[in-house]
């Protein structure tokens, strides 16, 4: 039987700081990557992989593991860094990001431990996750399926096909998390194509919905550990986040959707400095706290 790690919040905060720093190292190192949406979901991933999901990094295909799909696959650097931090593969593997034939490309692919399937074409994660959830129910299995989508991603029509299906088939082993950072590639979601009120829409479709501060690891852990929010219903968690979180000049800046600070620039130096300082601060607290 697999059980979640249930790491305490202060240690998870240190992991999150390390993950965020590694995300920025990868993106600056290669001068390429989707930084804003990677930085916004670091705590969501940390809570899932360090406290909520049943998994075994030494046995990534354990049949009883909870399944995770990063439907917003463009933000893959945060997933890579989280998987490395959790022990699926050495942190040094992150150095192969964007190398020729690397398993760490611009979107997740099969073959990297901890990645179930190739994802990243928006709207594709929820239906694939539903297939996994249906199979689990059919086989009487207890594992859950967690699918992390971007907020702009729910503009894809197929998402709503999957929302109908999940409720109709009462798939309470299915959890969709929206990284609600408010920005999509070109603009704010509400300016470009309004998606609010998200919770009301999902409730009307038959889902059980909660929202949470998507950077509060304690709150994330608590709410994600309580799924299904209602028996017989799929669960939606709206995680309110800040795009570019952790680097002051990147926060809420739309152009950092698919870029990062250019290598060798003052911005790059400042970004790494801020994230390193945060990590050192938390590491110091961990030492002094015993």
């Amino acid at each position: 039987m697999l059980e979640p790690l249930k790491l305490d919040t202060s240690r998870m905060e240190l992991h999150a700081a390390e993950i965020r720093l590694n995300v920025m190292r990868m993106i600056i190192g290669r001068g390429k990557g989707h930084s804003g949406g990677a930085l916004s979901m670091v705590e969501i991933l940390t809570a899932l992989f360090f406290a909520v999901m049943r998994l075994d990094p030494d046995d990534p295909h354990h049949p009883a593991r909870d399944r995770f799909l990063l439907s917003k696959g463009h933000a893959c650097t945060a997933l890579y860094a989280t998987l490395a931090q959790r022990g699926y593969f050495p942190v040094s593997t992150l150095d192969t990001y964007y190398d020729l034939n690397s398993r760490l490309g611009g979107h997740p692919v099969q073959g990297l431990p901890g990645v179930e399937l190739a994802t990243g074409s928006l709207g594709h994660g929820p239906p694939v996750g539903l297939g996994m959830a249906v199979a689990a129910k059919a086989d009487g299995k207890r594992h859950r399926v967690f699918v992390l989508v971007g907020d702009g991603e729910i503009q894809e029509g197929v998402v709503w096909e999957s929302v109908l299906f999940a409720a109709h088939h009462r798939l309470d082993n299915f959890v969709m998390i929206i990284d609600r950072n408010g920005l999509q590639s070109d603009a704010e979601t509400e300016e470009l194509l309004s998606i609010e009120p998200i919770a009301d829409k999902f409730k009307a479709f038959g889902w059980a919905c909660r929202s949470v501060d998507g950077h509060d690891l304690e709150a994330l852990t608590e709410v994600l550990s309580s799924v299904p929010f209602e028996a017989g219903k799929p669960s939606l968690l709206i995680a309110n986040t800040v795009k570019g979180k952790g680097v002051d000049f990147m926060e809420n800046v739309v152009t950092y959707h698919n870029t990062g600070p250019a290598p060798g620039t003052e911005e790059a130096r400042r970004a790494l400095e801020q994230l390193e300082r945060r990590r050192e601060q938390l590491a110091g607290e961990a030492v002094s706290g015993g």
Partner: protein, 320 residues
Amino acid sequence: MAAEWSTFNPRERFAKAVVELGKERDNCMVLAADLARTCHVLGFKDARPDNFFNVGICEQNMVGIAAGLAFEGKVPIVTSICPFIYMRACEQVRTDVCYNNLHVLFVPIMSGISGAPLGSTHYGTEDLAVMRSFPNMKVLQPSNARQIGKAIREAYDAEGPVYIRLGSGQEPDVPSNPEGPMIGRAIQLREGAEVSILASGYMVHKALEAAELLAQEGISAGVWDHPSIKPIDTGAVRDALSGSSNAVKLVVTLEEHNLCGGFGSAIAEQLAKIGSAVPLETMAIPDLFVGVGDREDLLELHHLDSESIVRRIKALISVT
């Protein structure tokens, strides 16, 4: 005068095949998108209600779900009318299923213009071009009732995604019985010295009729049935070049598909690779949207009836 053929209904034969599979294989699942009745899979639903999902009019979601099911070890058979698989859910087929190399069977009905006279919204005249371009995908097109049963079973036991193109209505049950594996194999149905006619699916009976008419005029034409469009039987393509003589004068391909990218293109690619100097005539639906009419009338309109095929072959032989 066309031959009198005994006929079969592709949907009924498919229905029989999936019910048989469902009784034998626990992991066999069938997905429909509000076309279960049209695709004749209600029998499967009766036989294996827990393994059947009617997802509603949501083809993209259906194919994504199929990918997830296949990932977990199920073997989903995805059914719908042809264009709603290869176009509406095209990206899910490519990215969710083929990219992840998942074992999903796609069984579109009403492919080609077999849905006539419904019009081009419901015709499937570009699917071969699309499907055979996806890595990992295998593409089959049975030409008779036995081949449908064999294709479904062989695809089920294969690995990765398989697309099995079916027609509609009553179709000629041509005598074409593959021995051994069907995937990657063609079947020679008739020997011939001057012309080789390569066909697939519904057009195989046209090839046989044309060869018979040509024989009556003293022209010797061989016929090959290619139920496996990807992988293509390269050995059979070489055999077709020589026929029963050292070299035929002409190779002809017949397909119920747009001229671009389908079966004829697949054969042309092979002939180019071989470096063949034998002229190739790819007879297909022209690069246009087919209108309304009966299937046979539309084929005749586009010169794909047996008499038109004969006329074309005679004209080409006379100038070569």
